[in-house]
Amino acid sequence: MSIPPDDTDITTAGTSSAATRLLGTLAVVGVAWLVAFGLLFSPADRDQRESVRIMYVHVPSAWLAYLAFIVTAGASALYLFRAAHSLAWDRLAGASAEVGVVFMGITLLTGMLWGRLSWGVFWTWDARLTTTAFLFVTYVGYLAVRRLGGTHQQRARRSAAVALLGVLEIPLVHFSVRLWRNLHQESTVARPDGDVKMDGLMLFSLVVGLVAFTLLYVWLVIHRQRALVLEDAAEDHGLEQALSDRRAEAALPGGR
């Protein structure tokens, strides 16, 4: 990364490009479809009644959080095990984890609202809820580890190790509904026997939610990854500036 001299071109374009603007537009259209189908066009469920509408945001946010943490682990492995140790993989891992934490937080919040309607309580120490909360806290910890300081390479190495351990919790969360007796229902779509137990329009609404959330995830990760490039460049710039000031101070008569 280089220090921008006074005559260097600096635009304030931020992290946008033509591709991200197109992606952002598609994500907004997807969200509009999701709201229309989730709240208006899809029918109420026989058992869950109107509360099934919360599923169209709750389930995609949970799936995208899983995906985000798997991408974090994959990018961390590529950083650690490839000879180049490229920081681009580390930034992708960090960006995906942060977006994953946002989606996991939404999963917990919408799950609490659904739980209040279905079970009469916002929270219970059920296996699925507890393991999900534990996964959320693990990745908040991962983000804290990224901020511990040191060089960019040190940050990348230690956070990659945490990411490769953290991802092992995902199967535990996913299979918790089968491993332990609990309140949370089993999967309706991703069933081992492949039998999808959903009405066509309800399944369509869920797929719209999944597509809209995937577009949002990709858009957010691209922006966050670019913001991390800027953060690293600004940090390097600040460090080089401080060293240069210190050298100038030492060169003065009586300087140490």
Partner: protein, 44 residues
Amino acid sequence: MEDAGFIIGSYVVTFGVIGAYAVAMLTRARRLARRVADEDKPWT
């Protein structure tokens, strides 16, 4: 709609959290972009 407060609330929470996160991130990125040369922004 039965339980409309909880159901609409879940959509407001979802898109409110994502929107707030996106705005905070883009604002910070725009501020940082002023301090970094364009040659370090391959997407521009």
